[in-house]
Symmetry: C2
Subunit: 345 residues, 2 copies
């Protein structure tokens, strides 16, 4: 409780507080013997620097906030440990902050940055088209992770770095894959209509694949989420799939734009008495750990989560250290072929 201060250590070592400060911060301009002695004493007496004082003096904190929209999303949750790990490397604090479902003009991230004296922010998920007001005023370094594909969205000229995959392309690829496997009537469980998240990019990929293959873009096959259920949840995947099945529309495969929703879709299919992939082939998106343990294991687009997190933190770090070149990293995802797709050839 007592809490030793730099002053105590100074007294014990019979040196000035400036010297102790220099020793602890590994500053130069101090005799290495003195430093050793001070450090030794500090350790022995269990001295711990007071971050508040340090931050006050240095006019900043050491905290990075992870601004998360939909923090109950298993895809994001799978990232937390990685963020923790990467941020730890630089001795950053990790503040988890959830953003409201609806982010509009009224939401100003900068207020939070100021209030918490953040050193940086990482936005995880959220809108592709953040209103100018939301991001435009942020005065601390920040990066967008898994939110924007600079390819598809006009974000390259915003003063911001990002790490993502090319959602449109990957969705395109996975639907093409279904077509190669002989499927012709392919449904999609898409996101909310026009909600400006990656979901809409994935839907675009689907549309392009269908179009380019000369198949029919049947509106009956394109299903948007149920507005009355929390978005992008298992429950919503279940409900939407159920409606699709009950509509009597004919199809042999379905692309569910997230693994989480695919989990719900699986159940709806089973509950209807159908079998995967015998009656319906399913592909997901994200590559959450669970996808390998569903039965049958889910064919899905695996995002390189580890790399994305690492890069996000590195990009942020670079910005904090003064590098002001804005980068947009776009990683390739990988189609993981599992047992949920049947070949019709």
């Amino acid at each position: 409780m007592a809490g030793l201060t730099i002053k105590d250590i100074a007294r014990i070592c019979n040196v000035s507080i400036s010297t102790v400060s220099r020793a602890i911060n590994n500053d130069r301009g101090i005799n290495s013997q003195t430093r050793e002695r001070v450090l030794q004493v500090a350790k022995q007496f269990g001295y711990v620097p007071n971050n508040s004082a340090r931050n006050l003096k240095m006019a900043e904190s050491n905290t990075i906030a992870l601004m998360c929209k939909g923090m109950d999303n298993p895809f994001f949750q799978g990232m937390y440990p990685y963020f923790q790990q990467e941020l730890e490397k630089y001795n950053y604090e990790f503040l988890l902050h959830s953003m409201p479902e609806e982010i509009d003009e009224g939401y100003e991230a900068e207020e939070i940055a100021k209030e918490k004296r953040l050193k940086g922010m990482i936005f995880l998920g959220g809108r592709l088209d953040y209103p100018e007001a939301v991001l435009g005023n942020i005065q601390v370094p920040f990066v967008l992770c898994s939110v924007a594909s600079a390819v598809s969205v006009n974000m390259t000229n915003m003063n911001v770095s990002s790490v993502s995959i090319d959602d449109e392309k990957e969705a395109y690829k996975v639907v093409r894959y279904l077509i190669r496997m002989g499927h012709r009537r392919i449904a999609i469980i898409a996101g909310k209509k026009h909600d400006h998240t990656v979901a809409s990019l994935r839907e675009s990929g689907y549309r392009r694949a269908i179009n380019e293959s000369g198949l029919e873009l049947d509106p009956e096959l394109i299903r948007y989420l149920d507005d009355s259920i929390p978005e992008y949840t298992e429950a919503n995947g279940y409900a939407t799939m159920k409606k699709l099945l009950e509509s009597g529309t004919d199809f042999t495969a379905v692309f569910v734009i997230s693994d989480r929703m695919a989990t719900g879709a699986y159940k709806a299919i089973y509950d209807s008495g159908r079998k995967i992939p015998r009656d319906i082939s399913v592909v997901g998106f994200d590559g959450i750990e669970l996808s390998r343990y569903l039965y049958p294991s889910l064919t899905t687009v695996v995002q390189p989560v580890r790399k994305m997190v690492k890069s996000s933190v590195e990009l942020l770090r670079a910005q904090i250290m003064g590098d002001d070149t804005k980068k947009h990293l776009i990683y390739d995802a990988e189609l993981s072929e599992a047992d949920s797709v049947r070949s019709l050839l």
Copy 2:
């Protein structure tokens, strides 16, 4: 970037900084008109208090750390949003901190508390028998959440509050349920042998249920985790179940001590060509969201997560506010009967 200070506001309002401070903190001993005027100006100019300075002066921060062992566990992950929500009520920061797999004498949580100037800590998961050194020296309020059943473990006389369920009892109940359904050869996928987590309590419950029912405690039916695979993961559930199946031991039901592992076990069962619940009945433990979306939906013990989180935070809050009565809350869990158990009657 500038960052207005209390001093600026004072100058603008033509009052002293003490007055501004009083206005902002809603202190008494200030004319209400003055207060209104100051607050109005502060707001207008976008003043944000500097927490570092405040914390320095007040000799504390406003941060609560969630000390999490196994932060990739979906059961815990499901709790994060709730913690966020509850802590927000008191304006606490939410610091997510993962603890190492192996927690022994060498690990001192107090160091972290000191370093980060924590206001409180919540331990999520971890050992039932934390070595004295780990918890014994902690000088800030803390509570254990979902780690200890005060009923089973001699923790009542430690200076600590806790929130949990009675893991032994709940496990007992779920195994009794299997027995009522006519099962006689009931296997268990337990935890690591003697690892002092809730897993061992759940195993005890299993043993008692089997014993009391006059059934045989066949060592062949009691399976511990594979040491070569990360503990308590889907992968480990899969591997352990696979071994059990391949051993040729006869059984009609299996109690998997966590839903996460049950997910892996499901897959192992399917992969072996068996069906749930036709060939093998399965029950899990925890009640993670996913359990309802497995196929067939998993019969499991649902922990009252929402309530547990709320109580943890409230208990912590009470301690912070000076209440030093240590409480041990033990909630009832609920058996959620789903489709993974077949009646043999």
